[in-house]
């Protein structure tokens, strides 16, 4: 994932009321939303918020009603103007933009999906999806083509001549999504997009969004009041209360290191095993380059004090495990290393949920490997590790995760140095 900032929000505040400057002054003095409402009768929608949204991530803003999340998301395309602060999209400040520049941002960069779908009842499905392109003045033929493509993405092309009220809620929202996608915006604002749907359909839609996002890599800002939804689809989650940002972090961070009691209470009923993934508890390991030969392998095993070693080929793809016993016989008989590789190790994907791991891990002779899409081994999961995670002790689990993160960080610092040293040696 590209980790550059797509949207930057600096000190953004929204006050609803007659004399916002008064309320801003009170906010600066540290008065709460409730106090300001009582003192001057103005509502603090969003309170001095700062954060970055990265390109290509699904950023979920979560909060109960009245927390300011819908107000906040409407400031990204200025359906609501901030009272104070700056918002940058791709480095361009949008709060100070004139109407024309703003229209351009709305047409090209930012698409929006609404809670109650916001489909135009007087236009058929195709015309609804074409709307954004029509507004931009795209020629009829081209826009129909693009709109049909977008409808195909959500598998509704055959409904193009129907009217919104002839479709079910879930279908309507897929049309809403297609309409936003037809413009091919970089940023997708989704305001409680699935909240009006019943639970089963909602889950389908979440899966659909995850599926689409895997190929689209849009920057998605998703508003919800549903924690399960946030955990399912969010790369990062921001929790808001009374217009303020309480915590921003990954699902694991929110669950395991809640910033305060409010967040703790919010997340206390979540079943961690249905949220945490293999990548969250995996143990980073040293990979042995099989081209280095048998003696080097033996040496590394001794250094690591292990009876096995994980081998990779020159493309850094994981190829199998070499055990000490087999290595020593091979060395005696002069067999090449490739012949003694244990290639068929049980493996899981990084995104496999914890709840699916126990059978595999507990029945395997070796630790199971975590293999990503590029065939790289990102780590292993040992029985001990899984059991400590399963003890359902958040502190312990937390500890495990913190350590694995530290290791990861250390590796990322050390590895470039090693490579540069290695290069210097030749």
């Amino acid at each position: 994932m590209d980790h550059t900032s797509k949207i930057k929000v600096t000190n953004v505040t929204k006050i609803f009321g007659q004399h916002p400057s008064q309320a801003i002054k009170l906010l600066r003095e540290g008065k709460s939303k409730q106090e300001i409402l009582e003192m001057v009768g103005m509502t603090v929608g969003v309170n001095q918020v700062n954060f970055d949204i990265r390109s290509g991530e699904t950023f979920v803003i979560m909060g109960l009603s009245g927390s300011g999340k819908s107000t906040l998301v409407r400031m990204f395309n200025r359906l609501i103007d901030p009272t104070e602060g700056e918002i940058y999209i791709d480095g361009e400040e949008i709060v100070g933009m004139n109407k024309e520049q703003l229209r351009d941002i709305r047409r090209k960069k930012v698409g929006m999906v609404f809670q109650k779908f916001g489909l135009f009842p007087h236009k058929n499905i195709l015309k609804n999806v074409e709307f954004g392109l029509e507004v931009q003045g795209v020629p009829a033929k081209e826009r129909t083509e693009k709109a049909l493509n977008a409808l195909e993405l959500v598998e509704l092309a055959s409904y193009k001549d129907r009217y919104p009220d002839q479709l079910s809620g879930g279908m309507q929202q897929r049309v809403g999504l297609a309409r936003a996608l037809a413009n091919d915006p970089d940023i997708l604002l989704m305001d409680e997009a699935f909240s009006a749907l019943d639970p089963l359909i909602r889950k389908d839609m979440q899966n659909e969004l995850i599926r689409l996002q895997a190929t689209m890599h849009k920057t998605i800002i998703f508003i919800t009041h549903d924690l399960d939804e946030a955990l399912r689809i969010g790369d990062r989650i921001a929790i808001m209360k009374d217009g303020s940002m309480i915590q921003i972090g990954t699902a694991e961070e929110i669950l395991l290191q809640p910033a305060n009691d409010y967040v703790r209470k919010f997340v206390e009923d979540v079943d961690l095993f249905k949220v945490l993934k293999a990548s969250n508890i995996q143990e980073r390991i040293h990979m042995f380059d099989i081209n280095l030969g048998a003696e080097k392998a033996l040496q590394e095993m001794q250094e690591l004090q292990q009876s096995h070693i994980f081998a990779m080929n020159s493309k850094k793809e994981f190829i199998g495990v070499i055990t000490l016993a087999e290595l020593t016989t091979a060395m005696k008989e002069g067999k090449p290393l490739e012949t003694i590789l244990n290639r068929n190790l049980p493996s899981v994907k990084p995104e496999t949920l914890l709840v699916d791991l126990p059978d595999l891990v507990l029945n395997s002779k070796y630790p199971i490997t975590v293999i990503d899409n590029k065939n790289n081994c990102t780590g292993i999961i040992t029985k001990e590790r899984l059991l400590s995670a399963m003890s359902n002790n958040k502190d312990k689990l937390n500890h495990v995760i913190t350590i694995s993160k530290k290791v990861e960080k250390a590796r990322s610092l050390i590895e470039p140095k090693i490579t540069s040293i290695a290069k210097g040696a030749f």
Binding site: R74, N77, R103, V110, M112, L119, F120, H122, E134, V135
Partner: protein, 279 residues
């Protein structure tokens, strides 16, 4: 307070004579224009053979509604011909159509402007209240000053009387569009004009049509009253029947008006309903 009366009557008379003195030319132009429009419409209706015309209207009624209205139109209009009021009915229809046309041409943009601009709204709403509550006969007086006797002051008075519902329902129709749809239009980067044309007006159309329907009915009632200042048509017959205490003639002319009213009302209502989706 006694002994002193606010000279409101003098002021109003002064204002009206100021208008007639200074804008006489303008009124003349308007008068000629309206006269020729109404005249042409009436002539057009009368030029066509009544039976052909009735068949066309009945077919139209069938198209916008279902067969009962078509049958009613056929029987009702044939009855008007039979009673001998066809010419007057044609004149009444052309008066109504002209004043409704003007009401729409002026009223819908005024309604839109009023939604877009708060101060226009603030000025317009008391004027609308005034227009709707002032007894309708009163409009006949300045109409005579501006346009003399005949057809044109009738149109003028009935426009004044009939326009408010169109304006009000235009305002209502646009205002009642759900906020989410307006946000959706904005979020896609519409200009105000695109938003109006592609979203607000189409969605407000059923409500605006209900307003136009009201305008048609009001204008029909006013056209009858306008007979008192010489506007030709069925009203003249009613007026004559009243002055002569001729109950039979009064009933026949009155019934013809009722038939026209029902046909115009049902047809315009159904156009409004059809507008809801297919456009």
């Amino acid at each position: 307070m006694e002994g002193f009366k606010l000279p409101l009557d003098v002021w109003v008379e002064g204002f009206i004579s100021f208008l007639t003195d200074n804008f006489g030319g303008l009124f003349g132009v308007i008068s000629n224009l309206l006269d020729s429009v109404v005249g042409a419409l009436g002539d057009a209706i009368l030029f066509i053979n009544p039976f052909v015309f009735i068949a066309i209207i009945a077919a139209l009624a069938w198209k916008v509604s279902r067969w009962p209205l078509a049958v009613f139109t056929l029987i009702g209009m044939l009855m008007i011909v039979n009673l001998g009021y066809w010419e007057q009915a044609a004149q009444t229809m052309s008066l109504v159509l002209t004043s409704v046309l003007i009401s729409v041409i002026v009223g819908v943009p005024l309604g839109i402007a009023s939604v877009m601009n708060r101060s226009i709204n603030n000025i317009l709403s008391p004027i609308l209240d005034f227009m709707q509550t002032m007894p309708s006969f009163i409009y006949l007086i300045p109409a005579i000053f501006f346009f003399g006797l005949g057809m044109v002051p009738g149109v003028f008075a009935s426009v004044i009387f009939a326009m408010p519902p169109t304006i009000r329902m235009t305002i209502l129709g646009i205002r009642q569009i759900s906020n989410e749809l307006i946000e959706a239009a904005d979020a896609f980067g519409t200009t105000p004009f695109q938003k109006l044309l592609k979203v607000q007006l189409p969605l407000a159309t059923p409500t605006i049509m209900a307003g136009i329907n009201q305008s048609i009915m009001l204008s029909l009632s006013m056209v009858v009253i306008a007979a008192m200042i010489g506007a030709p048509g069925l009203g003249t017959e009613v007026y004559r029947a009243v002055t002569q205490l001729n109950i039979g003639m009064g009933f026949e002319a009155g019934l013809s008006i009722v038939i026209l009213a029902i046909i115009l009302d049902r047809m315009s209502q159904n156009i409004g309903k059809k507008q809801r989706r297919f456009q």
